[in-house]
Symmetry: C2
Subunit: 345 residues, 2 copies
């Protein structure tokens, strides 16, 4: 309901209006909302009737202003269209629900400017805390925000130093189990498909791959780099064409892809070019997104505990706001290999 005063804009009803309508003081209305047991049933009923009548909606800004903190968490994700991140977000929602908080998602879409804009707004909104998979995990802005009082947890990246909480997955190990599996299947020439390993993750996965080769007594020349510009399906398709163009004497018999999108692209090219998977080319992906299992040839992939990752990140954030004398923690999860048809001949 809207209160119309003579000559004034219609105004949304506030607690003052409710108090007047119910014939009680402002403080009583507040008590009804925040400490209902301290109000007599009769009064409470009156006030609640007035609130319904006036369609009262609490003003969260005013609440927050007084309280100093909101009950909102935010996750600034790197790529809203990558199912990996939406799964991580689902895990955060679990934790947020449990703590009676709301989770807002922001999509930076790999754009530093967007990320910065969101961070600014979130800090101004005094959110309880910020979860973020940053474009650059070492950007100083994250530390600055934390120092100014908004807890920050880095997700799926490991920032240098221990001044922030973070959750990540052991990508070296992930790369290792992926390639160890391929070696066990008898492959000796293995392609690594990914963008230039400057980013920590791709670098780590490749490093793990190297270690697995080494452990099998195979030198680094057994890893054939197929470098892409990013990690999309299209990049995977391109890599597939390049791979198919190699003379069979040097062509790898297996490919380890830096993520599932790339692997799916590669798989598609194989289907087009009549290369059989896994007979002509075995493929291992990374992330185990839902579409990996749903591919025509179900994809062997390195599974990260995505939901758990998100849940743990949110829990760390809550711990940081409640604990006194909080110590920043860096949690690292261990991935596991999910073997499917794409590597089983």
């Amino acid at each position: 309901m809207v209160v119309r005063e003579p000559g004034a804009e219609p105004r949304v009803a506030g607690m003052k209006d409710v108090a007047a309508a119910a014939g009680v003081s402002l403080g009583t209305v507040s008590n009804v909302l925040n400490r209902p047991d301290r109000v007599s049933p009769a009064t409470r009923a009156k006030v609640e009737a007035a609130m319904a009548e006036l369609r009262f909606v609490r003003n969260e800004s005013a609440r927050q202003l007084r309280a100093g903190r909101s009950r909102v968490l935010a996750y600034v994700m790197l790529d809203g269209s990558n199912p990996f991140f939406t799964d991580v977000a689902a895990g955060m929602e679990d934790a947020a629900d449990a703590g009676d908080l709301s989770l807002f998602l922001c999509n930076s879409a790999h754009q530093p400017s967007r990320e910065a804009a969101y961070l600014g707004r979130l800090e101004q909104q005094r959110v309880q805390g910020i979860l973020i998979t940053p474009v650059d995990p070492d950007a100083p802005v994250l530390h600055e925000i934390a120092r100014r009082g908004t807890p920050v947890v880095v997700v799926d990246r490991t920032p240098g130093g221990t001044t922030l909480c973070s959750v990540a997955v052991d990508d070296v190990y992930g790369g290792e189990i992926a390639v160890r599996h391929l070696v066990e299947q008898g492959h000796e020439r293995i392609a690594f498909v990914g963008n230039h390993p400057s980013v920590g993750q791709v670098r780590d996965r490749r490093l793990g791959a190297m270690r697995a080769l080494e452990a099998a007594g195979l030198g680094p020349d057994h890893l054939v780099d197929l470098t892409t510009s990013a990690l999309t399906v299209a990049d995977g398709r391109g890599a597939g064409e390049r791979l198919a163009g190699l003379p069979s004497s040097v062509r790898p018999t297996a490919a380890f892809c830096a993520n599932d999108l790339v692997a799916l692209g590669l798989l598609q090219t194989c289907a087009n070019l009549r290369m059989r998977v896994p007979d002509d080319l075995a493929i291992v992906g990374y992330d185990d997104i839902e579409f990996a299992a749903a591919a025509a040839v179900p994809l062997t992939s390195v599974r990260q505990p995505r939901r758990r990752l998100g849940r743990t990140a949110a829990e760390l954030l809550l711990a940081e706001t409640t604990e006194t004398g909080h110590e920043h923690r860096q949690v690292v999860f261990t991935p596991e290999l999910v073997v499917r048809t794409s590597t089983l001949r």
Copy 2:
């Protein structure tokens, strides 16, 4: 920087602190922030130095409290893990960026309780407006929120009546072009794979399919319903198995799936059971998500202008907040068929 008063909690610096540090009044600090041209360069420099020194962060709650409205839009999406919705959200972000607004995403994950919780919070936050793909497009709560003053735009659904803005896609037409295409390819017995058509969308798509059959002089018995419980990849797999189990005398030669996830599941079962696509079974999906093109057999699909859908929705919302005497509009886009290998023999 944090102001530490004797015996007090460290407190985040506010405009008052900035004013004191810069030796000016509160009003001047406000002017520096909101109307910098009304302040002499010297004073402005002093104030800006003080802000940097104290690490001042504007308090959005207080701003909003005064302004009555925030500069945030929110999209409550039905399913954050469906790429369709994240693409729609991307379109909204385009529009929000253009209007200097932030877009927050909320994922109801098909749960009415979560949706309700988010709507409550958003209304209390006095967001500029709410974009929503609701679990139930006819839920009265949407109208109530709009009536209380927060504009609501319904996305990808058409609520009854014209009391809300909405953007949607013509699903009847989409079903029609999908099945017309199959008929043109010579198919006469066509499966419709989808959950029970109580939901408007699935019903409409099926209705369009019927119309196309009718137009081709084929009766309703040429459509074979394979009813699923939801619209996931797993449902598609299940439908595929049921389809494969049909005696070949009645088995459809083509399938029209209510969305791409189902189609991908169906495609996977075909691969498992050595049914060739499109030779043994032609498949048309719906939504044209990125993974449709990336499938081993690229999927023919009905493409909705997802990004445009989102952008238009956000623009309608902005129009509603700026226009005087706003008329609610119901925008309907027309989908198009993207023909790929899965129907081309």
